[in-house]
């Protein structure tokens, strides 16, 4: 019983890391069809946001709230990655809809730029830049429509960008002068330390579980529930589904596809940021942190069936449980006296490297029989 519980927990723990990382991609790639290779770097931005938030919460004014910094950073990471995602959509991806190869190359380029950015720009000024992007992108749209319709609106827009730039520089310098660790650029990996209430283990029915793992599972669950509710219950969710099913018809019916694209991409990117918070709890934060997850993300989305959230959920937990079963050699402890050749085979694959090989092989075989994944898209909506 304990063994089963332990194994199930491990599988779910590994799976939820995969799931939270792949969730944003399931939306961007699954619903919009954009092959976003910068997804990992949006995660990385989320992880760095956690690091910056952690340091800012160590300042004397915020010190009493230090224990809650991780909760705050989840929201901040969503916003930071979301804003960068929106900028990416507005400047690059919008021009490339319908040409997957070009999108792939362009987003790969963006991922390299983002990696180099965090290496060579002090994080304080990076934060300032994100803040000015946030203001510059959203301040003009928040003006009442009367002003927007007036001829002078472009001046408003222009001056709000100037305001945004000034605020960005100001916050950048304030952060840089108050937190010395953020004032210098460094390619060195940095470390996020979980607050004390999240460290150590917690005992549930006789088995000890690491708290950070439980936290990641909770983050994942909340993200999945929130995004499902948003897509199925809200008006914008309905518009997103409509546009993904038939773009031209939705356009004819008066849905602003442009806005839908921005929102979808923004949410997908924001979720990548949330994933960044989760992975920062497991390892160190560095420019390459996202790149380590990108292959796994695509694997999960493809295996689950492109465009199907339930498929993504099942695929990630499936892979998680398989990784634990194979990688930790669980079958041997369940059935200790199995025949020698079989136990030798299991032992051979019971290392992390070989388990990975085995899982990839299984997925390849599975996709031979079901090339569209666990839950393929049905019906006429598939335009191409």
């Amino acid at each position: 019983m304990e063994l089963l519980l332990d194994s199930l927990f491990n599988g779910v723990a590994i799976g939820s890391v995969l799931l939270v990382a792949a969730l944003g991609l399931a939306i961007v790639f699954g619903l919009m069809g954009v092959i976003n290779l910068a997804h990992g770097e949006l995660m990385m931005l989320g992880a760095y946001t956690t690091y910056v938030t952690q340091l800012i919460f160590k300042l004397p004014i915020l010190k009493p709230f230090y224990n809650s910094y991780i909760i705050v950073s989840i929201f901040l990471a969503f916003i930071v990655s979301g804003v960068v995602g929106i900028l990416l959509e507005k400047t690059i991806i919008r021009k490339l809809y319908g040409s997957p190869l070009e999108t792939l190359l362009a987003t790969w380029g963006v991922s390299l730029i983002l990696q180099q950015f965090v290496r060579s720009v002090p994080l304080a000024y990076g934060t300032g830049l994100v803040i000015s992007l946030l203001i510059g992108l959203f301040l003009p749209t928040s003006f009442p429509s009367k002003i927007k319709e007036s001829i002078n609106f472009k001046y408003f827009k222009f001056s709000s960008w100037i305001f945004a730039a000034l605020t960005g520089v100001l916050t950048g310098s304030v952060i840089s002068s108050s937190v010395s660790k953020l004032s210098r650029a460094s390619a060195r990996n940095v470390d996020v330390t979980a607050p004390s209430w999240m460290r150590g283990q917690i005992e549930i029915i006789g088995t000890a579980f690491p708290k950070t793992r439980l936290m990641i599972i909770v983050i994942t669950l909340i993200s999945v529930i929130a995004i499902t509710l948003f897509l199925n219950q809200s008006a914008w969710g309905m518009r997103i589904r409509a546009v993904t099913q038939n773009r031209q018809m939705s356009d004819c019916l008066g849905i602003s596809t442009e806005k839908v694209d921005i929102i979808t991409f923004g949410i997908g990117s924001g979720l990548a940021g949330v994933a960044g918070v989760a992975v920062s709890l497991l390892g160190s934060v560095g420019p390459n942190v996202g790149g380590n997850y990108i292959v796994g993300c695509f694997m999960v989305v493809v295996l689950g069936g492109v465009g199907n959230l339930l498929g993504t959920v099942l695929a990630s937990f499936g892979i998680g449980i398989m990784t634990d079963l194979i990688g930790a050699g669980r079958l041997l402890s369940i059935w200790p006296d199995m025949p020698l050749p079989l136990s030798n085979t299991i032992n051979f694959f019971a290392t992390t490297s070989m388990a990975r090989v085995m899982i990839f092989a299984l997925i390849v075989i599975f996709l031979q029989f079901k090339p569209t994944g666990l839950f393929p898209q049905k019906g006429r909506m598939v335009e191409n």
């Binding site: 460290r199 283990q201 709890l281 380590n292 290392t351």
Partner: protein
């Protein structure tokens, strides 16, 4: 048109400035009869840049120190050492290419460079075919002995063997079972093959081993294997690389695998630099084995640490790889002065037998092109340094490991033409 010309001019100046800074020579001025230019080849960009740039800093410092003391004296003339720094870009073929450039185009008599074994393996054929010289400063898996490379880092018998011995005989987990964890590449696999043979000789048991593919930070399956194999605590030998250590130590602590519950980790890739990155709160109570540790309480060690901090900033630390890099510059200088020429064949002969009072204590170049060194076992403390527990005497290097099944009974001796790279003892 005018603008584009201006931009072009700007670009040209900028690139000139870049070349000027990247090829700038040693700092001090003085009266020298001549100059000699050496090559420095490490990764200044890419994933290895963080580690390798510390070696560039140390080598520059050693060269500046030598220049300040009057340079290299050859045949009654004093030479100022200048250097060309090339970027290996964490890309192994680039290391080979830049080596060719340094040897053929710049005509340097010696190259100080490399960190990963992969980069060394890529450079080796270049130096052998051109009969040029590479000085390599990193502790590595050995099983190699080139006539054209000098290895100033530790071989496994100068690091992992005394460490395994300590863990099995004198650590708090003495007599316990071993679990081996490493990144999936040549150094951990070779090192663990040696450890397994040694544990068997000592009468202990290795209950499991696992390798994490480079870049992978999911250690949950490894943790459950450790818990299954060592339910009551035991000895973990860790050869994980770089950032994977962060994931490993964070997650094992959360899973209750800590010194207080009887698990002791011996690390071969964690020095002072890494401790500060990972955070001493995750590492306190675990062990490390090196030739040099910053906490060595001798005037030479203190002077080395102090001058590095003075040159590069008070928050910087020195660690074993940097000490090896520092030693090799001095050893080369001594050999050149003894040989009385920069000619590399004469320097090669003069180098064997060179002694140097290194920050770690006395070292000597052996006929197998490796150094005899002191081995230290330290326990990581809350301040992020090592508390030194044990010090061996001077240990001779084994280029061909005597516990590894494939090299048992072999040795290397370049001073005797009949012996060479690999001869039977």
């Amino acid at each position: 048109m005018r603008i584009s010309r201006r931009i072009l001019a700007g670009l040209a100046t900028a690139s000139l400035a870049v070349t000027a800074t990247s090829c700038g020579g040693g700092g001090t001025s003085g009266s020298f009869d001549d100059t000699v230019t050496v090559g420095i080849l490490h990764s200044l960009s890419g994933t290895m840049a963080i580690s390798e740039s510390t070696l560039v800093d140390t080598e520059k410092m050693a060269i500046e120190e030598i220049n300040a003391a009057g340079g290299v004296k050859v045949g009654g003339k004093s030479y100022k050492i200048e250097y060309i720094v090339e970027d290996g870009a964490s890309d192994w073929p680039t290391f080979a290419e830049k080596s060719k450039k340094l040897i053929d185009q710049d005509g340097v008599p010696v190259v100080f460079g490399g960190w990963t074994s992969a980069s060394r393996k890529a450079m080796l054929p270049v130096y052998e075919s051109k009969d040029a010289f590479l000085y390599y400063p990193i502790q590595y898996e050995a099983q190699e002995c080139s006539n054209n490379i000098f290895y100033t880092g530790a071989t496994p018998n100068q690091q992992s063997e005394p460490a395994t011995d300590f863990m099995y005989k004198r650590s708090p987990a003495a007599g316990g079972d071993f679990f081996l964890v490493g990144s999936d590449y040549v150094f951990p696999r070779t090192s663990n093959t040696i450890t397994k043979a040694q544990v068997k000789q000592l009468g202990g048991t290795v209950v499991g081993e696992d390798y994490l593919p480079l870049g992978n930070t999911e250690v949950a399956p490894i943790i459950s294997k450790i818990k299954k194999a060592l339910p009551e605590g035991g000895i973990i030998i860790n050869t994980l690389n770089g950032d994977q250590n962060v994931a490993f130590f964070k997650q094992i602590q959360d899973a209750g695998i800590t010194p207080s519950s009887g698990y002791y980790v011996m690390n071969y890739s964690i020095a002072e630099e890494e401790i500060s990155t990972i955070g001493p709160e995750f590492l306190e109570g675990h062990y490390g084995a090196w030739n040099y540790m910053m906490s060595i309480d001798t005037p030479a060690s203190k002077k080395f640490a102090a001058s590095f901090k003075k040159r590069w900033g008070a928050d910087r630390v020195v660690a074993d790889p940097q000490e090896s890099a520092y030693n090799m510059v001095y050893l080369w200088k001594q050999a050149v002065e003894d040989a009385g020429t920069f000619d590399d064949n004469a320097v090669r002969e003069a180098l064997v037998g060179q002694k140097f009072d290194a920050p770690q204590g006395p070292v000597e170049v052996m006929p197998n092109h490796h150094l005899s060194q002191t081995v230290r076992i330290g326990q990581i403390n809350a301040e992020g340094g090592f508390t030194i527990l044990e010090e061996t005497g001077v240990v001779l290097p084994q280029a061909w490991n005597q516990k590894h099944p494939s090299s048992k009974g072999f040795a290397c001796d370049w001073t005797d033409p009949s012996k060479g790279e690999k001869y039977k003892l």
